[in-house]
Symmetry: none
Subunit: 122 residues, 4 copies
């Protein structure tokens, strides 16, 4: 889990996104236990309260489920879960197109630049 402490985006929201991405990538699966907030806090060198906040946000969004004294788990009965990957991907595509349009770049050039950069980086 990678956090950017200089980003204006709050850490706890970055953490929510990281979990969503891990789900999209298939690294996290429904039913999986995620580390306790205290453990996670040590791993990420972050305050336990910050982790708690991220976890509560995830629960509010229906991503996880909490069992008193047992831990926090990825929900498996949620429709959200199925669609996370495509939704987040679609959002990224939209953002990209919007950014490029804002710079006055035409669709063909968008595709071109993408191809070039992908080739360069292998």
């Amino acid at each position: 889990m990678q956090l950017n402490f200089n980003s204006p985006k709050p850490i706890y929201l970055q953490m929510v996104d990281e979990v969503k991405k891990a789900l999209a990538r298939g690294e996290l699966k429904p039913g999986d236990k995620i580390p306790s907030h205290k453990e996670q806090a040590q791993l990420l060198q972050v305050n336990p309260n910050t982790v708690m906040r991220a976890y509560q946000e995830m629960e509010r969004e229906g991503l996880t489920e909490t069992l008193r004294g047992q831990g926090t788990f990825i929900k498996n009965d949620s429709a959200i879960l199925q669609s996370i990957r495509s939704e987040m991907a679609q959002a990224a595509v939209q953002q990209f197109i919007e950014d490029m349009r804002g710079l006055g770049i035409e669709p063909e050039e968008m595709a071109h630049m993408l191809r070039v950069t992908l080739n360069k980086e292998g």
Copy 2:
């Protein structure tokens, strides 16, 4: 000029970016006068201090220059100006690739999704 008041990105930085984008699009040209901070504040429904700060930032970056009593103008002798478009475009591409990689999406599918969405939206 579009601002997102709920974004974690500071409004004054959003304003700087909007000016850069207008330059990239060719809507603003070297030598153009930009509105006084009071005018701009009314236009955008934003506190004059915020506009001031955005203008200071632009000046600091060498994007604009202020002529006493005459207003703020887009500089034309700046090397930055030439490269704004390609730099911002490259940043958008990088961001897009990073986002998609984070979701475990392969290069071919990135290009595919981009094409599909561009076609859908005309």
Copy 3:
């Protein structure tokens, strides 16, 4: 016995209340044996420690008594027992009135709403 695991009210106190209610309803009588904490824990899917704590609390309140090696029993010589029903009922009435007053609802309307809901539910 119904427990709400998401209520802020501690589970062991919910259990005490449930026993009191069963007494009020006449489902439990003085002298009745209540299940061992292990049995009860399995029945309610609750940690045995939690049941223990509920039992301790009941004993502290003079509701039950424990006979070594024989189990826990509802006491019958307790003055508390006689008044449980009316006390809890009175508390419920008070709570109701307070809640409704908090909403700015007048006594007549309280009675009216109660009647309507009771009729609707048969």
Copy 4:
């Protein structure tokens, strides 16, 4: 605004309820500004962070709306707002009936006890 610091119900949720009740009573109206979290914290002798949490919860529920640097206001375009009073009243009635049923008390006696208590208290 009355808080019960000994209640198992978290203070920040009590605060949300108090605001809802004030709305139901008509003491708070759409568009009204509520005290800043720091001011409120002093008034209630509570930590500012606790107030913040209550305010954020209200915003999440669509009760209020926040304007950066200006304060927190009761929303006026929310359907929720219209129905708060009846919803909360209905919830109180349901709770009352459930409590009384739990004690084995019949509908007629519920109404009777309510009437008696209301008369006693004037």
